[in-house]
Amino acid sequence: MIIAASVLYFNEQKYDEVLKLIEKYKNIETHQQDIENGKIVITIEAENNKEIEDIEKDFTQHEFIIDLAHFAFHFGEEVDKVLSGGSVPDFDITKPFTRKRLQ
């Protein structure tokens, strides 16, 4: 599990649309907001960075989203998995790549 903290910059006239967009994702929480200046802090819980990227792509295709700027990532759980020697399929690049885990 990775946790990303990001700042969503948006057209301040379109706040309701932004909330609707965010609500599509169960793994996104909103935190501090500056609606007047079109800024919301969100956190994203994701299996991996690809999932975060996909959200970013989805967000930024909307005209009212100016930018999704990532600021912080917590990946301690993933590091523990690697260091414990358990199977971490993402690292096994010798095997054919599967997008299953990333979608």
Binding site: M1, I3, A4, A5, S6, V7, I22, E23, I28, E29, T30, H31, Q32, Q33, D34, K39, V41, I42, T43, E45, N48, N49, K50, E53, I66, D67, A69, H70, F71, A72, F73, H74, F75, G76, E77, E78, V79, D80, V82, L83, D90, F91, I93, T94, P96, F97, R99, L102
Partner: protein, 821 residues
């Protein structure tokens, strides 16, 4: 992870993000989350937060040349988080990109090398550090004796720390009395160095990134900024969005993502853009848009190599042939675009040019750099906010570690040529070369060593009489993949006694005699200096994996074994952090009297600073320098004699690197004479470059699943009309062949390039997809930088689509079996 802990982490990280974004008032959440008082944004910005981490350790991202400032979160001795630095002057607001956020996957990757390897009977076998270092010592001493001190070389990297590069430089140039050391910035930055030196008289930009937000016109040329420097591109894009009147001009052969924010895209056939720059200059002068006062005060017109003074009138005559129509004919750039670009460049009030490998990696790369500087001189776009001629670096420490420490074959610390006697004598004296050198000459050799391409051409086995370099240490770089015309150089690397220092198996490690497993940046710490003259300390965050060692420790062991124990005073230090501090102090003392002085950037200051320090910084109470060459901003003006310079007392702006204080305006012919031309046999021009998710040879990024999956293999982009002519469909496999080598690649049909121009990225390690088998090893005559951007190729269909998205990397198991097919 239990929910309450997860919520605490989220709250804590969100507070940091809020502080970064300048949101300081109450929150409004989708779901209620417990928010302890200690986690309020104001309290959390950069402080330790034991809920999330035990400590946040300051550092720099090492995945491109921007120099983004980060904090690494450490808990129980492990990297568990990463966040941007709110105070950062590079990645403003602490924003990170996809490569930066995945650094931890590199650090903890199971492919990390953790044991020294020695080749025995053709196989790389595990060895102890003692055994490996003893072998290196024996071979180096043997070769020094048998073949002379220049027979043992060092090849470094813009990813080594400044302390590491400086130490190797000191060992080689002073300790061994040999200039046979170079670095991979020769392959990317050397033309920019020579461009600054020949035009302005001193390397590196006059301005800084903050000029971006002060510019009225931004001229991006030879740079796919959106993919090669994504965080800087974000800065530019945001600035443009907030200031739609600011003009963005993009000049390059492909209409990349960078062009999306452009007001004007200027296409140009690879290698021809010098005609565009001369054409813009002609248009500017013809329309009387030039800055007469600036020219009178600060320009020196010159023909030929710069030694011959000329006149403005001669310059006008020289560029007269570059009419917009002529430029269109030779470059493919519409005449109207040349006119428009000239007008915006000259009349904006403050124009900033940014360029990268598209100009540097050329047979006429230095001249291309000179012509950009020309445009800035004739329009007066120097020395004022938002106006600068700014070369972007491709690596995080190419500027600080290699250019500034002089770790190239022709330079000394302070980026001054070895041939310049007064500075050479100063360095000899500072290093006490006469006392310590193991070379009987007891002096620094005034003759430059070999630049990279010549160095690797001269490398070979003991039985090869025509190859005078017999041994080489290669650190943190992968020349068996990055050199052009690889077929020529791979046997040389294999035949010589080659020592590779790296964290992962690479193409070069496959050819090595000895492989030394290295520590990663965050496991050792050190200073990186980015494109804008800013040095920033990464502090050691976690312990290195057992069996690995920092490069600085390795350098010190070699120094000790070669009899340089007293010369490298930090070689007996046990603690790597103290070692680095001693090396840094030695370096800033050595260069204190140069215009690149970082004398005020003590380790203590760098530890405490959250922004780093920009040189010149002559004293601890000096804030560092945003803009060079301007009185009141550049501290060199306060005491020029100290730096061996003369600046007239009444000069407000003075380019003190040049004897007359004026910038050379060169008359450079645009014809790329040494570049390869298309022919009947090879009818396409191929150019190379980066894609956003991958960096360099993919050694790290191809091991990060997300980045690897985005570009799991190389490909060739060709224009849809060319594809039609060749009967190609999307994904077809083609043979791409030059006079030197070939690749088998899938086709990506596009309409964002010019007809006749194709593009292949450089990151793929698979033998028959390594584009440098195709590239030309012709170099710029001045800088020695290869022409990666212009190769004549033919393209023939091999088959329909095939599955090639294998995310290939060299594995440990393949170290003994290098197959380049």
């Amino acid at each position: 992870m239990d929910i309450s802990r997860r919520n605490l982490i989220k709250t804590s990280l969100a507070a940091s993000a809020a502080a970064a974004a300048g949101i300081t008032f109450g929150c409004k959440k989708k779901e209620p989350v417990q928010e302890p008082a200690a986690q309020q944004p104001q309290a959390d910005t950069q402080n330790n937060n034991t809920v999330t981490v035990d400590k946040w350790v300051k550092g720099v991202c090492r995945m491109c040349g921007t120099g983004c400032s980060i904090y690494v979160g450490v808990k129980d001795g492990k990297m568990v988080a990463i966040k941007g630095n709110v105070d950062s002057k590079t990645n403003t607001r602490g924003t990170l990109c996809i490569k930066g956020m995945n650094i931890w996957k590199v650090a903890y990757h199971p492919d990390r090398l953790t044991t020294p390897l020695i080749r025995k009977n053709g196989k790389l076998e595990p060895a102890s550090w003692e055994e490996a270092l003893t072998l290196i010592e024996t071979k180096f001493k043997e070769y020094h004796k048998k073949y002379g001190y220049d027979s043992v070389a060092y090849y470094g990297s813009g990813q080594c720390t400044t302390e590491e590069s400086y130490t190797f430089n000191k060992i080689w140039k002073g300790g061994f009395g040999s200039n046979m050391m170079d670095g991979n910035p020769r392959l990317c930055m050397a033309s920019a160095v020579a461009g600054y030196l020949s035009s302005l008289g001193s390397d590196e930009p006059a301005g800084a990134y903050e000029d971006i937000e002060k510019a009225k016109c931004i001229f991006l040329t030879g740079s796919n900024t959106s993919e090669a420097h994504p965080i800087l591109f974000r800065r530019i894009a945001r600035y443009k969005k907030d200031n739609p009147d600011v003009k963005i001009i993009v000049c390059e052969p492909r209409k990349t993502q960078t062009s999306l924010i452009a007001d004007l895209w200027m296409p140009s056939l690879p290698g021809t853009d010098l005609a565009i720059f001369n054409g813009m200059a002609r248009e500017i002068i013809k329309n009387n848009w030039h800055d007469k006062e600036f020219i009178a005060k600060h320009a020196r017109f010159t023909s030929g190599d710069g030694s011959q003074a000329s006149t403005f009138d001669e310059y006008i005559k020289f560029i007269d042939k570059y009419t917009p129509e002529y430029v269109e004919k030779v470059t493919g750039c519409p005449a109207a675009a040349v006119k428009q670009a000239a007008e915006w460049f000259a009349k904006s009030g403050a124009t900033m040019s940014l360029w990268c490998m598209g100009l540097n990696q050329r047979s006429n790369g230095v001249w291309a750099n000179n012509l950009i500087h020309n445009l800035h001189v004739i329009t007066g776009n120097f020395g004022k906010p938002g106006a600068d001629s700014f070369s972007l670096t491709g690596q995080p420490n190419a500027c600080g570690g290699v250019r500034e420490t002089g770790s190239l074959s022709h330079l000394l610390p302070g980026c001054k040529p070895v041939a310049v006697e007064p500075w050479r004598k100063h360095v000899e004296s500072y290093w006490k070369v006469a006392e310590h050198s193991i070379n009987p000459a007891k002096a620094i050799n005034p003759k430059p060593g070999f630049p990279a391409v010549k160095l690797f051409a001269s490398l070979g086995g003991e039985n090869e009489q025509d190859k005078p370099v017999k041994a080489i240490i290669i650190s943190t770089t992968n020349p068996a993949q990055t050199l052009p015309n690889l077929n020529k150089f791979i046997p040389n690397i294999k035949n010589a006694f080659t020592v590779v220092i790296d964290i992962f198996p690479t193409r070069t490690a496959q050819l090595a005699s000895v492989v030394l497993p290295a520590a990663f940046l965050y496991e050792k710490g050190g200073v990186y200096g980015c494109s804008e003259r800013r040095s920033f300390l990464t502090e050691k965050a976690v312990e290195a994996p057992e069996g690995t060692k920092p490069d600085l420790w390795i350098a010190c062991q070699i120094a000790k074994r070669m009899g340089l124990e007293k010369y490298i005073a930090w070689s007996n230090e046990e603690d790597i952090v103290k070692m680095a501090e001693m090396a840094w102090n030695d370096y800033i003392g050595c260069t204190a009297n140069s215009e690149k002085t970082l004398a005020g950037a003590t380790y203590k200051r760098l530890r405490e600073s959250t922004t780093g320090v920009q040189w010149p910084c002559p004293s601890e109470d000096h804030p560092g320098t945003y803009k060079r060459y301007v009185r009141g901003m550049d501290p060199i003006f306060d005491n020029p004699e100290k730096y061996g310079l003369k600046i007239p007392a009444d000069a407000d702006m003075y380019f003190y690197g040049r004897p007359d204080g004026k910038i050379n305006v060169f008359m450079r012919d645009a014809e790329p004479k040494a570049s390869e031309k298309i022919s009947k046999e090879y009818p396409f021009l191929m150019t190379t470059g980066r894609v956003i998710e991958q960096w360099h040879t993919g050694t790290m990024t191809m091991r990060i699943p997300e980045t690897a999956s985005a570009h799991p293999n190389s490909f060739i982009e060709i224009h849809k009309n060319d594809a039609k002519k060749l009967g190609l469909s999307q994904g077809d496999m083609v043979k791409v062949e030059s006079a030197r080598g070939m690749n088998i690649l899938p086709v990506k049909i596009v309409n964002m390039t010019l007809e006749g121009v194709c593009f292949v990225p450089m990151h793929d390690q698979k033998g028959n997809r390594m584009v440098n088998f195709i590239c030309n090893d012709v170099v710029d005559a001045t800088s020695g930088e290869p022409d990666y951007k212009v190769s004549a190729v033919k393209i023939t269909k091999v088959s329909g689509p095939e599955k090639v998205d294998d995310r290939y990397v060299v594995t440990k198991a393949e170290l003994d079996n290098p197959t380049f097919s």
